[in-house]
């Protein structure tokens, strides 16, 4: 049992990239960016991190149910986005 066996490159890469993305997200506090730019940066880093977890750590594509798992997860994501954006549209943006 070696270090390489217990800490495979894939997991280390996933972990280090999630730490780096967190630092990038954090930078919105320390640089003078507008709210709009900040939110765009946060959207990119958050969804990239979610992707890392899903593909690298959760092994979403490794079994024969791969297609069903991805289809259902994208569907759930769609529902969540429609819920959030639809709520913002009807409760806030629609009145501006």
């Amino acid at each position: 049992m070696s270090f390489k066996e217990l800490f495979p490159a894939k997991h280390l890469t996933g972990f280090i990239s999630s730490l780096l993305l967190t630092v990038v997200a954090l930078s919105v506090l320390f640089f003078d960016v507008s709210m709009k730019t900040g939110v765009v940066i946060l959207l990119i880093t958050a969804f990239m991190q979610a992707g890392i977890q899903l593909v690298m750590f959760m092994h979403a594509g490794e079994s024969e149910d791969r297609a069903s798992i991805y289809t259902h997860t994208y569907y759930a994501l769609f529902i969540a986005l429609v819920t959030v954006l639809g709520t913002l549209l009807t409760m806030i943006w629609g009145y501006k």
Binding site: S18, L19, T22, A25, A46, M58, S63, T73, Y75, A76
Partner: protein
Amino acid sequence: MKIDHSVPKEYATEENRLKIFGFWIFIGAEVALFGTLFATFFTLVDHTATGPTGKEIFELPPVLIETFVLLTSSFTIGLTVHAMRMGYKKAMLTFFAITAVLGAVFLSVEIYEFTTYVHEGAGLQTSAFTSSLLTLLGTHGAHVTLGLFWGIFIMIQVAKRGINPETANKTFIFSLYWHFLDVIWIFIFSFVYLKGMM
């Protein structure tokens, strides 16, 4: 029960494979649940009434500790499954225990955070903002609490019965749950705290 040795133990029987698939369906429902909580929070975030705003109560250090602790625990539960697949029970349980300890650290910091909020006059009933904030954070925290106990029970089973198709399946499903909670936290960290402190 037919055991297929060509795949990792957690997939070794049809029932195992379907349990993993079923858990992905459950995670989809959880995504929808947190979607509604985020929608509520984003709608009410500026409605602070006479209570404090996010900028006034959010503190970066505890939030950063929570974030790095949860990111690391997501990494160690990944290593748990990896060690499990190679049959290293001791390494598996060590990584599993580190995950549980990190989960407990996360919860301690979050409880500290919640008591600070209440002391600063930001309770569950203070304003629409604090209600939606604490409901969102609390639902995530309740999931972590459940996961902590769930994980401890699975560790005991692995320690007693070893790595077999049943315990491997439970461990793998737990790892899915734990990674999912990390994903939710990333969104809380980004769009509740960082956006709130901008």
